[in-house]
Subunit: 524 residues, 2 copies
C-alpha cells in the first residue's frame, strides 16, 4: 500500500480524487465585491458550480465587472447600489494619494488612511440605505427566505452580505484580503496594522506608529462606520447589534494570505489561509503575442500592468516610464489605456488588456512592473517573476513592502518617479540575480502545500454547509466587553490590590514608627 | 474531469494518493517522552519509516516504554537519564493530588500545580546534568555530527531534544500536547492556562484565577526551570540562550489539538493541529473478548481504563467502583492491576491490559470510564463513546472538563468517590441519550477534515526537511524584549505623554486664572 507517484502526477491526482463528494447540492447566496475581488470570487464560484451547488449572486444593477448573465449563477440586481467601477473616482483618488506621498513618512500613511475613511464615510451611508430598501421589500425578502439558502459567501468589505446573512439567519463564509484587526488577536508589537506600511520587525517609533494606526482603526470603526448603520440596525436587527458583532458571526474566514508573502501573525482556528488560490498554470498565448515574446531573444520580456482600477497616470510619469523602457535591451508589454507616450520605444508593445497570468507564466518573462495588487503579487510569486513595484492606492504599498523586505522586489514612488530612478530599479531587478533567486524560493515554499489553496477554500465552504456553521471554531472572547477582552478589568483590580497593600504597609510602618518616636519623646 | 467518489472510498484513496513522494530519505533524530506520549510518537515514526526515512531514537538506557531494539529505528542509549516509568512515584503523586482535591476550588489547582513544579524542579536538574554529560562527550557529539541529521523531532517537555538540536544546529519539529503559554499569544481573557481547570467562558473571578495561573507559569519558568539549566547554557551555548529561546527556534509545532475538544485559541502559522492523529479503525478483538462483548446483549459494555501511569487506586475507591459496576445491567471490562476488589460483580471482567482502541470502536461499547488522558479522549471522540471521567493527575482534569462542557462526559472526583455517586454518573451517561448524541456530533466534526491529522503531521515534518526549516512562519515578536512584546513601552510613553499634556493644560489654566485674579485684586 506504499504507492508512490511521480512529483508531477500527484497534484493532478489529488485534484481529481481528494475532493470529497459534494454535499447534496446546496443553495449559496453570494454578495461579491467588484474589480479584482470579483476575479477571485468568480473562480471559487466556478468550482462550486462544477460541484453541483446552486449559486445566486446579488449585484448592483449597474455593475460593470459582475455580469448579469452567467451560466454558473443566477443574478439578483439591486438598483440602489452604486457601480463599483467609477474610474474617474479612482483617478481623482490617485491624485490625492500622490499628494499624500509627498509628506514625511510618519504622516503620509495617515493621510492616505484619511482618504480611505472619507471614501468609507460616503460608501457606508449608501450601503446602509440600500440594505434598508432591500429589507423593507417584504416580497423580495420572502422570496429570499423561500429559496432556503444554506450559506452566505461574501466579503465583509461590502457590508450588505453580512447584514443580509444575519437578517436571514444564514451561516457565513468570508472571502477576505484583510483580517479585521479589531476582531482578531493582533499584537501591535509585531503585527503591522494594514495601511501602516510597516513590517513585522519594528523599532520603538514604528511600534508607536503601529499603535496610532490601530487607534485610528478603532476610531474609524466607532465614529465613522458604525454610525452609518445605526438607524438600520436599530430598526431591523436585535438590540446591541453593530457591524463588529455581525463580523463575529462569520463561521469561516477564507483569508487570502500565505506566509511567504504575509508576515506571520496569530489567527483563530476559523481562519483558513487560501493566499494564491487563484493562481494557475499559464495557458498558451495568442499567436501574435507568442511571436512578440519569442522575438525578445535571450533578453526576455518585461510585463507591466497597473490593474483594473487606474486608467490614467500623470503624463509626466508615463513619459518617464516609456523613456526608461525604451533604453532596455528587453522587450516590454504594457497594459495601457489613454494617450500614447511620445517617448515610447520600438521595443514596447501597448495593449488595452493582457492575459496577465499567462504572460507571467511564460518562460521569456523576466520582470513584472506592477501596482502591487494582491492578485498580481501572488501570480508573480507563483510564477517566480521578480517585481518592480509602482504602488498607487489602498493596500498596494503594504503588498509591495512585503516583497521588498524579502528581496523579491524594488519599489518606486509614482509621485517622484524619474526616468533614471525607474530605469535603475528595472535594471537592478533584471540584472541582479538575487531578485529572481529570492522569488524562486518564495515560489517553492508557496507551492509546497498538502492541499491546494483552492481545494482548501472549497472544502471549508462545504464544511460550513454540511455542518450548518462552525460555532466551535469561534473565539469565546467575542462575548466579552472590550475592557474584559483586553484584561483591563483584571489588571485594574490587580493594580488596585497592590496599591492597597503598599498603602497598608506604609500605614502600619508609620504607626509603628510614630509610636516608637512618641515613646522616645516621653520622658522616662 | 469531475470524478466523484463514494464517501467511504475517498479517504482511502487520499491516503494512498495524496501523500507526495517522500523527500529523498533523511536522517531524523528523535527524543521522545515515554508513557502515553511514546504511543503517539511511535505511530509517527512508523509512518516516517515506511516513507524511507532513517530514524534514530535517543532513549534512557533504563526506559521501560521505549524499546531498545526496533525494526523502525536505531537506538542511542543514555545511561544518565532516569526511567520515566517509576510507578511508585506516580502512585505517591496521586495520593498528594487527592489531598489537594479536598481544598476549595480556587486553591486546589494551584496545589496541584505546585506538586508538578516540585517534580519539574527535580527533573530539570537531572536533565541538565545529562545533557552536559552528552555534550562533553566529544566522541559521541562527533558521531552525531557525522550522521548529518536533517531534523530533530521531539517534545519540548523533555528538554534534551531542543538542547541537542540547538547544539547541533538542526531544524526542530515539536510534537506537543500543550502550546507554551509564554511563547504563543494566549489572551488570558478567553484562553484558559493549562492546569487551571477553567473553560473559555470565564467570569471575572475566573479570569483573575487564569491570570494567577499565567503568572505562576511565568514565575515557575524563571525561578525554577530556567535556573536548572543556567550552568549548562553558560558553558556550552551562546550568551543569552535560555529555555524559552530554545523553544522559539522550533520550525513547526505539531499541536495534538482539535477544536472539537480544545477551546478555540489563537496560534501562529507554524502551529499545525494534529489532534486525534493516532486514532484508527477498530481491529477485530481476540475471540474470547469478542464473545464477552457479544454476551452483553442489548445492554452493551462499559470499558474502563486509567491509563499507563497509575496502577493502584485507594482500596476504598476500587471497592466503590466495583460495587457500582455490579449493579449495572451492562457488562464491564476493566483494565485492573492489583488486588481484586471484594465487591466485584459477575458482569465485570478484569484485564491487566486491554486493546483500548479496538474496544472503543466496538459496536457493543456504550461508555468509557477513563482517567481522561489525551489519547483516550480523542479515541472516545473518534469512536463516539461518551465518557465517565475519573481524573487523577496532570492535564486529565482539564481534558475531562472539555468533554463535560460539551455534554459528552460526566466527571467524578476520585477523592470523594462513593458507590452511589459513581453509579449515578454511569447511569446518566448510559441512559441519557444526549451524551451519545453530543459525542456523535463531535465525532462527525472531528472526522470532517481535508487531510487526515496523521498525513498532516507527516507532511509538515517532511516540509521542514525539504525546506531546511520554516523561519518564515516564526513570529517576529520573538526578537522583542518582553516589555516591548506586550507593548508596555508604547503604553508607558502614551500614558506619560497624556499625563504631560494634562499637566501642561492645568498649568496653563492656573497661570491664566492667577493672572486674572491678580488683575482683579489689583485696585483700579
Amino acid at each position: 500500500t506504499n504507492m508512490r507517484l511521480d512529483q508531477k502526477l500527484w497534484p493532478l491526482l489529488c485534484f481529481l480524487l481528494l475532493r470529497p463528494p459534494p454535499c447534496s447540492s446546496s443553495n449559496i447566496l453570494v454578495v461579491p465585491i467588484g474589480g479584482s475581488h470579483w476575479i477571485n470570487m468568480k473562480m471559487i464560484l466556478e468550482q462550486l458550480h462544477s460541484r453541483g451547488h446552486n449559486i445566486t449572486v446579488l449585484r448592483s444593477a449597474k455593475s460593470w465587472y459582475i455580469p448579469n448573465n452567467s451560466s454558473i449563477y443566477t443574478s439578483i440586481n439591486i438598483s440602489t447600489l452604486a457601480d463599483e467601477s467609477d474610474i474617474n473616482y479612482y483617478n481623482k483618488m490617485l491624485q490625492d494619494v500622490m499628494e499624500c506621498r509627498t509628506y514625511p513618512t510618519f504622516i503620509r500613511t495617515f493621510c492616505q488612511q484619511y482618504l480611505i475613511t472619507s471614501m468609507f464615510d460616503q460608501g457606508h451611508k449608501i450601503l446602509a440605505r440600500s440594505v434598508a430598501t432591500i429589507i423593507e421589500d417584504t416580497v423580495f425578502i420572502q422570496k429570499l427566505q423561500d429559496t432556503k439558502f444554506d450559506l452566505m459567501l461574501t466579503d465583509p468589505g461590502l457590508t450588505i452580505g453580512m447584514l443580509l446573512a444575519t437578517y436571514l439567519e444564514l451561516p457565513i463564509v468570508f472571502n477576505v484580503r484583510w483580517i479585521n484587526t479589531l476582531l482578531t488577536p493582533s499584537p501591535i508589537s509585531y503585527v503591522p496594522v494594514s495601511g501602516s506600511e510597516l513590517h513585522d520587525q519594528m523599532d520603538f517609533l514604528e511600534r508607536i506608529k503601529n499603535m496610532l494606526h490601530y487607534l485610528y482603526n478603532v476610531i474609524e470603526q466607532h465614529l465613522i462606520i458604525n454610525p452609518a448603520y445605526s438607524d438600520l440596525l436599530q430598526q431591523h436587527f436585535p438590540p446591541g447589534t453593530d457591524l463588529l458583532s455581525l463580523q463575529r458571526r462569520a463561521d469561516i474566514w477564507l483569508f487570502r494570505a500565505d506566509f511567504v508573502f504575509e508576515f506571520p501573525r496569530p489567527t483563530m482556528p476559523n481562519v483558513v489561509y487560501i493566499g494564491g488560490f487563484h493562481c494557475k498554470k499559464a495557458q498558451p498565448l495568442p499567436a501574435e503575442l507568442e511571436a512578440f515574446m519569442q522575438s525578445s531573444g535571450e533578453h526576455g520580456v518585461v510585463v507591466m500592468s497597473l490593474g483594473t482600477l487606474i486608467s490614467v497616470l500623470p503624463r509626466k510619469v508615463t513619459e518617464a516610464i516609456a523613456a526608461a523602457f525604451a533604453e532596455l535591451p528587453q522587450k516590454v508589454i504594457w497594459r495601457f489605456v489613454g494617450e500614447k507616450p511620445s517617448s515610447l520605444g520600438h521595443n514596447t508593445l501597448l495593449l488595452e488588456w493582457l492575459p496577465q497570468n499567462d504572460l507571467l507564466g511564460h518562460p521569456k518573462t523576466r520582470a513584472f512592473v506592477s501596482h502591487g495588487g494582491t492578485n498580481g503579487m501572488y501570480e508573480a510569486i507563483y510564477h517566480s517573476v521578480p517585481v518592480v513595484g509602482l504602488p498607487l492606492l489602498f493596500d498596494q504599498f503594504d503588498n509591495l513592502l512585503r516583497l521588498k523586505v524579502r528581496g523579491a522586489a524594488r519599489v518606486v514612488e509614482a509621485y517622484s518617479l524619474t526616468k533614471e530612478g525607474f530605469l535603475g530599479a528595472l535594471k537592478d531587478v533584471l540584472e541582479n540575480p538575487s531578485f529572481h533567486t529570492n522569488m524562486q524560493h518564495l515560489s517553492q515554499l508557496h507551492r509546497d502545500k498538502p492541499v491546494t489553496p483552492m481545494e482548501t477554500a472549497i472544502f471549508w465552504i462545504e464544511y460550513v454547509i454540511r455542518n450548518k456553521g462552525a460555532p466551535h471554531l469561534q473565539s469565546a472572547g467575542f462575548h466579552l466587553p472590550w475592557y474584559s477582552y483586553f484584561c483591563l478589568d483584571v489588571a485594574a483590580l490587580t493594580i488596585a490590590l497592590t496599591g492597597l497593600f503598599i498603602w497598608a504597609l506604609v500605614f502600619v510602618c508609620r504607626l509603628l514608627c510614630c509610636r516608637r518616636s512618641k515613646r522616645k519623646m516621653k520622658p522616662e
